[in-house]
């Protein structure tokens, strides 16, 4: 993995070039696994680890989109209901016979792209702060879903393809969802490090004015990034619906904080312009392991919330601080 400058470096300096944030995140993963193995020896078994990767893959897909937006120095708070919209709409499409079954996954993702486009237009062209416009989109998406579902969880169930994608095994003992995450992740790495789009994303994140003056179509790029983020959040919802074989109200609520936390714990600067996908992978695994260990220890919900918040703030205080302003 190369860092954000993208230049290959001699092998000797690799150790020095490792981002301390990513190293810390991986160290925490090892630490958590060791702590867990003290509690129960199952923690180091391949089955458990693969199971964790499978659970992590849903968050991983959602966090991938979030990372793209955070790299721009923006944030996407519309994740909860875009995830739910993706899940509900794909299940709804799946109930329309064979064509519906075939179109279920693309339709769900497309709904997310549409909602993401609203975010993107608001941020890029209307210059509304992303925090605000994405909150508003979240409210609109919630409104649409409440009207659609009548306030209850809809009875449509996921299509076979969705279930296969989320729970099947194309390669023996490797869950499909992990493969999906790997494909999405590799595509994002390619996009960020090997395309002009990716270069522009880092450029805009560092200083949008400078990127604009260098001839980058900054507004179009910001809009596309939000559309991709919306699409990936909805895709996460599609996978979740396949996993649970149906969509539910507010199923996306549990993914906003973890997605942001995973990206930020992985060393991506919340101010934009700096970050590495490997860090996001580490962040996602870290968060998933933390959740898993807390639930194995039968920690009640309130304790999980508190520990969660404390861990995020503690880790950010370790390495996510801004430079002193003056």
């Amino acid at each position: 993995m190369t860092d954000s400058t993208g230049t290959p470096a001699p092998r000797a300096s690799i150790l020095r070039r490792i981002d301390p944030a990513i190293a810390t995140a991986f160290a925490c993963i090892v630490l958590l696994l060791l702590l867990g193995s003290l509690y129960s020896s199952n923690f180091l078994s391949p089955e458990y680890l693969l199971q964790q990767l499978k659970v992590a893959s849903f968050l991983g897909v959602i966090a991938t989109g979030m990372m793209l937006v955070i790299l721009l120095g923006q944030i996407d708070l519309s994740v909860p209901w875009v995830v739910t919209a993706g899940a509900m709409m794909s299940c709804a499409a799946a109930s329309y016979g064979l064509t519906g079954e075939i179109l279920a996954i693309p339709f769900g993702i497309l709904c997310g792209v549409g909602l993401g486009l609203i975010n993107g237009i608001g941020v890029a062209y209307l210059r509304i702060p992303s925090m605000i416009v994405t909150l508003a989109t979240n409210a609109v998406a919630q409104g649409l879903m409440v009207v659609y579902s009548g306030g209850f969880s809809p009875r449509d169930s996921a299509s076979d393809a969705m279930r296969w994608l989320a729970t099947g095994f194309a390669i023996p003992s490797v869950p499909n969802s992990v493969i999906v995450w790997a494909v999405v992740g590799l595509a994002m790495v390619f996009l960020l490090t090997r395309t002009t789009f990716g270069r522009a994303v880092y450029g805009i994140g560092n200083r949008e004015r400078a990127a604009y003056l260098s001839g980058v179509k900054t507004r179009r790029i910001v809009m596309i990034a939000f559309a991709i983020s919306g699409g990936l959040a909805a895709f996460g919802g599609v996978l979740l619906a396949g996993y649970a074989s149906k969509a539910a109200q507010s199923m996306g609520d549990a993914y906003l904080l973890p997605a942001i936390a995973a990206v930020v714990l992985g060393g991506t600067s919340i101010l934009g312009g700096r970050g590495n996908y490997l860090g996001t992978v580490a962040g996602v695994i870290l968060i998933t392991l933390l959740q898993s260990i807390l639930s194995v220890m039968q920690m009640p919900e309130f304790g999980r919330q508190i520990i969660y918040g404390v861990v995020i703030i503690a880790m950010l205080l370790l390495y996510g601080r801004e430079r002193a302003a003056h």
């Binding site: 509304i128 919630q142 904080l257």
Partner: protein
């Protein structure tokens, strides 16, 4: 320019919010079923106003809290959770004899102050971004609320609750009077103090404020801490209103979201440095009234979230009109 024109320019956002509120509330009153049935008697109108104000005051407190932080160009996404946490706490300790109750109220307000102070300390001395910080502390506050009230329940001193949600002289809603008093006791002194001026200065330009020797840290700390206090007032009122404490995650998020909507409607710039809590209060009242208009016109309540979402979207898009005044395209990226 004459003095009054300065004043008008400064208060434009607040006056606009006030105007929207008056228009909306008139439509609401005229079409309210109770008034259509009984005519415009003092009693009916007072009852309708009382119910509406009890509901709107909750949002008004949370919106005031949000305003203080937004003025410093920050954001507090944990206000809704502080609101929920103090509601759960109040359902435990605001009970018993008058003295115990008074102590309980002080305890609840102190808890709100503490939550706000924690936010402020982390943002200022930890140098973390307000968004991430307050999302994370929000999770912590919600966790504590859940620990206090795993299931909805509890009680509150009924006399105090009835007094503060009732009517004074049978006409004026006590909750509105309390809101007014809080504006006078908390907001006006804050705005006129050095620290309050500094909060505006920090929001306009932190670098310039620093160069001018403005007490930046004290200002931001005061803004976050007072925001916690105001959110706690809201939580206290929620308890008086419902007689229970409930750790409702969705409700906390909704209040956070609506507080931002109210702030925007109230003419407070999200980039900091302008606006007033009075504007945000009217923004909150207007937003609540708009949401309730659907009931008056007998729409299916299922449409309410969508309607509120669309209103919110339109309200935040209003800011885009400023783009037409931009002469230099580079100012887009300011």
């Amino acid at each position: 320019m004459k003095d009054w024109r300065y004043w008008l320019a400064e208060q434009r956002g607040t006056l606009l919010a006030f105007g929207i509120f008056v228009v909306m509330f008139t439509i609401y009153l005229v079409n309210h079923p109770a008034i259509e049935n009984n005519g415009f008697t003092v009693n009916t109108v007072a009852n309708v106003v009382q119910t509406a104000s009890n509901k709107a005051v909750l949002l008004a407190f949370v919106a005031m809290a949000q305003t203080l932080v937004v003025i410093t160009a920050g954001i507090d996404l944990s206000v809704g959770m502080i609101f929920i946490l103090t509601n759960c706490l109040a359902s435990w300790i605001v009970v018993g004899s008058p003295w115990q109750t008074a102590l309980g109220v002080v305890g609840v307000l102190a808890a709100g102050l503490a939550c706000g102070a924690v936010n402020g300390l982390i943002v200022i001395y930890g140098r973390l971004q307000p968004i991430v910080t307050t999302i994370a502390t929000g999770a912590i506050y919600f966790g504590i609320a859940l620990a206090l009230r795993p299931f909805p329940g509890g009680d509150v001193n009924g006399d105090l609750a009835d007094m503060l949600t009732g009517k004074i002289f049978g006409v004026v809603p006590a909750s509105l009077v309390t809101l007014f008093a809080v504006v006078l006791i908390v907001w006006v002194p804050f705005k006129r103090s050095t620290v309050g001026r500094a909060a505006y200065a920090v929001g306009s330009s932190e670098a310039a404020a620093y160069m001018s020797g403005v007490p930046i840290r004290r200002a931001r700390f005061a803004a976050y801490t007072l925001a916690g206090l105001l959110a706690a007032m809201g939580g206290l009122f929620l308890t008086f209103f419902t007689y229970t404490g409930e750790a409702a995650y969705a409700s906390g998020n909704t209040y956070t979201l609506f507080s931002i909507a109210a702030v925007v409607l109230g003419g407070v710039s999200l980039f900091g440095g302008t606006g007033s809590a009075v504007g945000a209060v009217f923004g909150a009242l207007a937003f609540r009234t708009i949401g309730d208009l659907l009931f008056v016109f007998d729409f299916d309540p299922l449409w309410q979230p969508l309607f509120q979402g669309v209103v919110l979207m339109l309200a935040v898009s209003l800011g885009a009109f400023g783009l037409f005044r931009v002469r230099n395209r580079l100012d887009w990226f300011a």
